[in-house]
């Protein structure tokens, strides 16, 4: 028996079939030294997900492969990067379980399609960003507000290739969370410096990011 229920498999299969029209690669950097059960379950989940649609494939790498991690512009491990020929840096540091599972599903659908569900004014504003922008959304698996924040950041990345978006499992990366003084989520850290707490509609979310850049 897999990690997904039969009902969810059926639903996801339909969602993927209706949305995915290009090849999507899930690049999973696994860490077997620190939490092997965690790593094993994640791999199983990704195998199950990628088996649901012919356009999906899984590449598993080790966290020891530092060259590859660097070439993918990743800074933490484990991570799951969702790739296709669509522009966008959609990444998950740690496991997108609990409430975050939907973020993973949406990221796969987004990278496999031309889907974009942002308002026109937000898209216009995002396109005007000229400098590299790194958005890290720190989450916990029990946080119901976090998927909305991850979704906002991921969608922003689809609009402008200057923008990198990553979910970060705040508990897995506890030291990094402590470094940023994180004790409430979703906590959004912009360019590894300043940030803010909470999810907002996309326009206000973008305003907060711009504010954090100042």
């Amino acid at each position: 028996m897999g990690l997904l229920s039969e009902e969810d498999r059926k639903y996801l299969k339909e969602e993927f079939n209706n949305n995915i029209n290009r090849e999507v690669k899930l690049l999973y950097f696994r860490n077997d030294k620190n939490g092997s059960e965690y790593s094993k379950q994640t791999k199983e989940l990704l195998e199950e997900l990628t088996s649901l649609n012919d356009n999906l494939s899984l590449i598993v790498e080790s966290c020891d492969n530092t060259e590859k991690i660097k070439s993918e512009e990743l800074t933490l491990c484990p991570s799951i990067k969702i790739k296709s020929d669509r522009s966008g840096f959609l990444n998950f540091y740690g496991v997108p379980a609990g409430h975050e599972f939907i973020s993973l599903v949406e990221a796969i659908k987004d990278m496999g399609s031309d889907n974009l569900s942002l308002p026109e004014d937000v898209i216009k504003s995002l396109k005007e960003i000229k400098e590299p922008l790194d958005i890290k959304v720190f989450i916990t698996h029990g946080c119901p507000y976090c998927p909305g924040a991850v979704r906002n950041a991921h969608q922003f990345s689809l609009v402008n290739d200057k923008i990198k978006s990553s979910m970060v499992d705040a508990n897995y990366f506890g030291e990094l969370s402590r470094k940023h003084g994180i004790s409430s989520v979703p906590h959004i850290i912009v360019n590894d410096k300043k940030g803010f707490v909470g999810n907002l509609p996309p326009d206000l979310f973008l305003d907060k990011i711009k504010e954090a850049l100042k």
């Binding site: 990690l3 997904l4 969810d8 639903y11 996801l12 965690y38 379950q41 994640t42 989940l45 496991v95 379980a97 609990g98 409430h99 599972f101 939907i102 599903v105 949406e106 569900s117 308002p119 004014d121 916990t140 698996h141 029990g142 946080c143 119901p144 507000y145 976090c146 998927p147 909305g148 705040a170 508990n171 969370s177 003084g181 994180i182 004790s183 409430s184 989520v185 906590h187 707490v197 909470g198 999810n199 907002l200 509609p201 996309p202 326009d203 206000l204």
Partner: protein, 319 residues
Amino acid sequence: MDFSIQKKEKNTVRKHFQAAIIGSGPAGLTAAIYLGRSKVETVVFEKVIPGGYVVNVEKIENYPGFVEGISGEKLGKLYAEHAEKFGSEIKSEEVTKLELNETPFKIETSRSSYTSDSLILATGTSNRKLAVPGEKEFTHKGISFCATCDAPFFEGEDVLVVGAGNSGVQESLYISRFAKHITIVELLEFPTAEPILIDRLNDNNKIDLFTSHLVMSFKGDKMLSSVDIKDIKSGEVKNLKIKGAFIYAGEIPNNDLVRDKLKLDEKGFIVTDEYLRTSVNGVFAAGDVRNTPLRQVATSVGDGAIAGYEAYRFLEERK
């Protein structure tokens, strides 16, 4: 590890609706179900996430029909799915201004403007702040309002919970899965949570309850590290070393949009009649934001049904 699915919102470019609902908690989404089934063009404005405050509740045990309880987040999703099934549109936009002087009512959001022939306010409540020194400074730096979000940060730590009502006790029980020890501080002489929750509290050896105590100040450097609490009977002040604090000290109505437009009671809750009509014709209020003796999911759902039906009747009578 757990994996679950949720549906996506579907938005149109429509700018005028027959009914607009502000707030996507149990009251707002129930009203949307009733209006949708009455074939009324309805929009629901949600600020953050369908379900409203209820998404913070790990398990709702007193909502009829769910014998084993249901997570607030799951219930919120079901409400949203149900409302959309009958044609209501849910927009993820924060309403910033209302004009209620004439119909159609004008609604400004952070992104656009809309009009509506009727309006239902279901904006709920927010956690009351304590207004003590250090509270603002350490909010999100140890002080939290969402246990399901933030309790894992306090694994093996000492935590304070303010308030021994249903929320305070229920969330303390949840936090006790992570924290080493929890001190609940309650201003009253007794906890006001349901007896079944008090029983569980008494059975939990990680939790201590201090009644007749109040929080004086939160202290720390960059992050929260202690709290001063005062015994209001003896006047004794104690300093407790804590890493986290969760505040459930009552609610305040989210009435910013209508503070000078609708009749409010002395605590700021919207005054309604039994049909949930407010002081402005065509504007209804439902759920926790109105003056009601009990604020529960079940009562909000009842309010939503009445407000939805009455908004429909209002629209019909105008024809």
